[in-house]
Symmetry: C2
Subunit: 297 residues, 2 copies
Amino acid sequence: MNTLSDIGEDALIRRLTTLLPLAADPAAGPGDDCAVIDPGENSPTLTLLKTDALVEHVHYLPDAAASDVGWKAIARVVSDFSAMGGTPDRFLITLALPGETPVAWVESLYQGMAACMTRFGGLLAGGETTSVPAGSAKVISVAATGTVRREHLTLRSTANIGDAIFVTGTLGGSIRGKHLTFAPRAEAASWLANHAKPSAVMDISDGLAKDLPRLAAASGCGFRLDPRAIPVTPGCTLEQALGDGEDFELLITLPPGTIPRLSQWPAGFPALTRIGTITAADDSDNLTGGWEHFGKY
Amino acid sequence: MNTLSDIGEDALIRRLTTLLPLAADPAAGPGDDCAVIDPGENSPTLTLLKTDALVEHVHYLPDAAASDVGWKAIARVVSDFSAMGGTPDRFLITLALPGETPVAWVESLYQGMAACMTRFGGLLAGGETTSVPAGSAKVISVAATGTVRREHLTLRSTANIGDAIFVTGTLGGSIRGKHLTFAPRAEAASWLANHAKPSAVMDISDGLAKDLPRLAAASGCGFRLDPRAIPVTPGCTLEQALGDGEDFELLITLPPGTIPRLSQWPAGFPALTRIGTITAADDSDNLTGGWEHFGKY
C-alpha cells in the first residue's frame, strides 16, 4: 500500500487537486505561492489567500523560543504574499496543542506573531485552539488573506526565455537560526513591483535546487545557472546554499530591458545577485536535487 | 506552571486575543461563528472568514471512514457560514499527517470533502500538506472564505430581551454517527434569513448547555429554558441533548412579531422547536455545564 512518504508532496498534491471542485480563477489554484481571487474587473486589487503550517520537530525543534516560532509562523505567510507582489490583510490562527502545553509558551508564541504583524502588517481576524493527544506534535496553522494591486501581481509561471534570474540576500545555513528569525523580503518585493516589474517571483522555501526548477517548469521554460555566482551565506558550502531550504529569499526573473533599473536598488536593501538566465525547456541545466545532481556543472 | 488543560479554551482565547493586533471591523473579531470583513460600504456583501480543525482521537476516531472525516471537515465550516446567514466561497486545506498515512486514506478524505463542497458550494483555492512525526495525531485544518448579503448577516450577539429561542432538528447522541455525517442547516438558515429575519443565530457545536449561555452572554442577556420542550434525539436522555455537543443544529432567536411567519416553514425542513425565551441578564436561568447544573430546573 502506497504511503505519503512513498510518493512525496508534489505528486500527492497533483493527485488530490483532481478530486475537489477547483476554483477557475485565471491566476488561482494550487501551485503558486498564494491563491489569487479576482473580486471583479472593477476592483483595482486582487485578493490573495494562503495557508501555512508549522509542525514541532518538522519546522522547529522543541527547544526553540516560542516567540521565534510565532514570528516564523507569520513571516512565512508574509514572504508568500511578498512573492506575489502583495501584503497581508487578515490572519486566522489555528493552534492544535497538547493539554500539557504551558500557557506561558502560547502567550510567547502570540507575542512573536504580534511582533511580525506589527512590522509587516495584517490583523488577527479569528482563530481556534484545539487539543491534540498527549505526546502528539504541536501544529500551528496560519491562514491569511492578502491584497495585491492588479498591476503588481507576480506569478511564478510567467518567466520568459532570456530573462535574467536574480536572488536576494544569501542562500544556505538557515538551520543555524535564520529560519526562525528571518525578515520576509517585503520591502524588496514592493520596490521591484514599483520600479522593475519582474516577469516572475517566488520565495525560496525548499532550497534553490528545488525551487528554481519549479519556477522554470511552471513557466514552461528551462534555466541556465552559474554556480559561481550564487551568493552563499558565509561559512556555508555551495551544496548547503542549494539544498538547505528555508532561505525565504526571493527568486526573481527580470526581462533584460529592465535590468538597468536595478542601478537604483536602495542602499540598505539585501543584496540582489544575478545567478543565471531563463532558457527554453529543452535547453535547460539539470538541477533536480542538491549538489549530487549539480555535479555535472 | 499553568497549562492549557488548567485554564480551558475560552479563557485562553480571551488572554491571547489581547496580544495580537486585532481587526477593528464592527462585526469581526474572535467570538462569533466567523470573522466578518466589510469590503466597503459600496459592497452589497460582507466577507466571512473561518478556520476549523479536526484532530484524530479528538474529533474523530482512527477507525472512522476517511470520506466521513472529509465530509465533516467541510461541513463544520459550512455550518458556521450558515449560522452567519452566508455561504462558502473558497477553501484552503492544510493536512498535517504522518508519512506512514496511506495515499488511499487521503484520497478518500478528499472525496468526502468534494461531496460536501458539491452539495453546499465552495471551491478549493489551495492548501498544503506537511508531515508530522510518526505516532502524532493527524490534523486536518480547513480555512475558508464566505459571503453574506449585508442584510442577511446574523450574529450571536444581537438577541434581545423577549425574543423566542428556537432550535432546528434534535439534540443529543451525535457521537453515534451524526457528528461525522450531519447535513449543515444551510437551507434552513437561508430560509430564515429571507423570511423571518432572526435577531441572532449560532450553530450548536459544544452542546446547548454551553452554547445557549454563550449566545445570551454575547448579547448581554440571559435566558429562560423549558427543558420539557427540548427536542431530544430518540434514544437519548435530556442530559445527552444538553451536553453531548457536535449537534450542528442552529440555535435561533426571533423577535415575537416574526414568529407567525414560521407557519410557512417548508415541509421537509428539519423541525423547528421553541425551547425558551431571552431574558434580562439578571433574570437568567443558570446552565453552565451539563445536566448536573441543570438539575435545579
